[in-house]
């Protein structure tokens, strides 16, 4: 089955993973800007990173027939330095015109600090001005509930933000209902230890439905599995779900959400 993984940090993966993705049926990925494992200390570092996301990775992905799209931001983990963060946000507009850039992401909160919120709000304002799609990172572990609620409040209060153009990623059992009830899209991330398993993701699909929901692997430089999405498809099959469920969350739904950007063109 052809599928889309809408959240993968390929900059931290070897080219072997592109081959594995292609063999598994992945035909498109989207890669949010994220924390690279260390705190960058200059806007130039982010400029070069944005070049990598918009130039190098699309070419690397194309070697295996995979379409690569990107999101841009300064991630919440590096948002405590307001001066640097504002300088990085100032770089984003020139990259928004690149053919593979879908919007602003992955913005959000990390440890739920006031500076993180300041930078989140600045990103939201930029997205509102340029009518970009938004991809949101919700905090890890004990911070997830509190951070998710703050994020939803900020987005919900902005008069120009349409929840239907915002994907709240890394939802778990205690946040998914609130995200969906408020009209946002919800992403379930199949990432060991700190996020969700394929089994729990399928549980949540059974309990909350498959509307406005997608699944992703968020494979990055930590212990993670770029093939987590097809493994979730296997879990659906083990439980006797029709193949339409896997197609819905890994093809139809990503195309619906991402297709709101005129740049996203993935065909059957």
């Amino acid at each position: 089955m052809r599928y889309i993984d809408p959240h993968l940090h390929m900059v931290s993966r070897t080219t072997d993973d592109y081959e594995r993705l292609a063999l598994a049926g992945c035909c498109a990925i989207t890669e949010p800007a994220f924390w690279a494992g260390y705190d960058r200390n200059s806007a130039q570092g982010f400029f070069d990173y944005f070049r990598l996301l918009t130039d190098v990775e699309p070419r690397r992905a194309a070697q295996y027939g995979i379409q690569h799209y990107a999101w841009l931001c300064i991630n919440p983990k590096e948002a405590e330095d307001l001066t640097l963060a504002r300088e990085v946000i100032g770089l984003i507009p020139e990259f928004l015109e690149r053919p593979n850039v879908l919007g602003i992401g992955e913005i959000g909160l990390n440890r739920n600090t006031r500076n993180e919120m300041t930078i989140l709000e600045a990103h939201v304002e930029l997205a509102a001005q340029t009518d970009e799609l938004i991809l949101v990172h919700t905090p890890h572990l004990e911070d997830k509930l509190k951070g998710t609620l703050h994020i939803l409040d900020v987005l919900g209060a902005h008069p120009k933000i349409d929840p239907g153009r915002v994907l709240i990623d890394h939802v778990e059992e205690h946040t998914i209902r609130e995200v969906l009830d408020r009209g946002f899209w919800a992403g379930m991330t199949l990432y060991p230890h700190s996020k969700c398993t394929p089994q729990r993701a399928v549980d949540m699909l059974e309990m909350y439905g498959d509307e406005r929901v997608w699944i992703n692997s968020a494979g990055d430089w930590g212990p993670s599995d770029p093939l987590a999405v097809p493994k979730a498809h296997l879990e659906m099959q083990r439980r006797g779900h029709a193949a339409t469920l896997a197609r819905r969350v890994s093809w139809d739904n990503p195309r619906s959400f991402l297709g709101q950007s005129p740049k996203f063109r993935v065909t059957e």
Binding site: R114, L141, Y208
Partner: protein, 112 residues
């Protein structure tokens, strides 16, 4: 799909056929961890909590308490276990924190 009371398409037997062995192993991992904590150099027995000022030991207490609270949730027969477990580990305060005051997440709320 709706009405989560019967939203799993499997029977109880089918679900156990698929998942029992795997989760038996996960439960043994938890049991072994509790034993390991009891054999730790500074253990006073897994039920004790120390009155300490050191932040790292305060963390250790909070995580130990979180483990035991998690086991109580799992054993209380009230259902909705995954969500309630997530809530038991969560920071339920509402105010944002001052900048630069927080280290990495540890997996359970340990206080400001």
């Amino acid at each position: 799909m709706s009405d989560d009371a019967r939203s799993c398409p499997l029977t109880v037997k089918q679900a156990l056929d698929l998942y029992f062995i795997e989760h038996r192993a996960k439960l043994l991992d938890v049991a072994a961890l509790l034993d390991r904590l009891g054999r730790a150099q500074d253990s006073r027995g897994v039920q004790d909590s120390c009155e300490v000022d050191d932040a790292s030991l305060r963390h250790a207490d909070a995580r130990l308490a979180a483990l035991h609270q998690a086991l109580r949730v799992l054993g209380d027969g009230q259902g909705d276990y995954a969500r309630r477990l997530q809530m038991s580990f969560s920071d339920l305060t509402t105010d944002l924190y001052p900048p630069g005051t927080r280290g990495p997440a540890v997996g359970t709320y340990v206080g400001a």
